[in-house]
């Protein structure tokens, strides 16, 4: 058991260091430690399932050890910026004011083709329109265009866009969600009035959403068709 714990810790930190050296582009929208955890846990969990000769505890102990390491590292990284940089790295500026930083590109093992592909994925064809392209610590590329390339907002146009609010589901497949009704400041009486005005019972509703401004989306449940 002690050997399993020590081996797990060694493998965990070895993978952490290896993946850190490989660069962020390997991660695919996961933080480094999450990626390492995901890579290890799936295999560890399947070990005692595949081989009945391996005691269950040999699968559980490394999973619990990894869980502890991950929580401790995440907690410590929240408190200590330097530790966070050491484990997760820093965001890298691949494009600064329309100019590619070749050094950063090379450091992150990003080829120009891959950079262009990422930019195209986000709708940018011309690098000179990009003010900043930032490779985040989870491997995601965030692109910020020059202000003159940004879409015009309603505020810039002087248009009153009206108030919008988050729509909550209040009836899901005939089931009333009381907690969501409370979120929008309504009660069962209000809902009954709304249903009565549409001539239906809650059980007949497929989906009903409502927000705090009173906007309602309503979809009646379809009749079952006999084959």
């Amino acid at each position: 058991m002690a050997i399993i714990i020590i081996r797990t810790v060694i493998v965990y930190f070895s993978l952490l260091v290896t993946m850190r050296l490989l660069g962020k582009r390997q991660l695919g929208e996961m933080e480094l430690s999450e990626f390492v955890l995901a890579a290890l846990i799936a295999d560890l969990a399947s070990l005692p399932l595949q081989d009945l000769g391996i005691p269950m505890i040999n699968g559980l102990v490394p999973i619990l050890t990894l869980f502890c390491c991950e929580l401790l590292i995440a907690g410590l990284c929240m408190k200590h910026v330097r530790l966070r940089t050491a484990f997760y790295g820093k965001p890298s500026l691949l494009i600064v004011r329309g100019r590619i930083s070749q050094k950063e590109l090379h450091r992150n093992r990003f080829t120009p083709d891959e950079l262009m592909q990422e930019l195209r994925n986000q709708g940018f064809l011309d690098i000179s329109t990009v003010q900043y392209a930032i490779l985040e610590t989870d491997g995601k590329l965030n692109v910020i265009p020059f202000p003159n390339q940004c879409p015009v907002t309603a505020e810039q146009m002087g248009i009153d866009a009206g108030d919008t609010a988050y729509p909550f589901i209040v009836i899901n497949n005939g089931r009333i969600l009381e907690a969501n009704l409370k979120h929008i400041g309504r009660d069962a009486n209000w809902l009954k009035k709304q249903l009565d005005s549409r001539g239906v019972q809650a059980a007949e509703v497929f989906l009903m959403t409502a927000d705090q401004t009173g906007h309602i989306y309503f979809a009646k449940r379809e009749e079952k068709h006999e084959p």
Partner: protein
């Protein structure tokens, strides 16, 4: 910070469990090895009944720890040790040939189980 504390405490408990396990396996293998030594000494004195009784005691100690061994030890190791026990037992019962190799084989398996739980450079790597 509660979750981090919980993780830290769990890690400490796991390490404590591992430490307890080292002592448990030391105690189990130590008892059995002592029984084996007594059995071999009796056998060398020509006391076949004493050798068989001491081996029986060691075998019972192994079988009594069945729940522990099945939770913590690889089943291949358990089977190999049980095989070595019964091989030695049948050799003692038949009274034919030199049984020292069978004693050594069983000792090797027990040593291997003990070594497996002791953290060392070799066992970790």
């Amino acid at each position: 910070m509660n979750r981090e504390w919980a993780a830290g405490i769990l890690l400490v408990l796991l390490i404590a469990g591992a430490w307890w396990n080292i002592h448990a396996v030391d105690s189990l293998t130590g008892d059995i090895l002592a029984g084996l030594d007594a059995s071999q000494a009796a056998e060398e004195r020509g006391d076949q009944a004493g050798a068989q009784a001491a081996l029986e005691g060691a075998l019972n100690r192994w079988l009594e720890a069945d729940s522990y061994t099945h939770i913590f030890i690889r089943h291949a190791e358990i089977d190999a040790t049980a095989d070595a026990f019964y091989e030695l037992q049948s050799q003692l019962l038949s009274g034919e040939g030199d049984s020292s190799a069978a004693y050594d084989k069983l000792r090797y398996h027990l040593d291997s189980i003990q070594r497996m739980e002791h953290p060392s450079f070799g066992s970790i790597l």
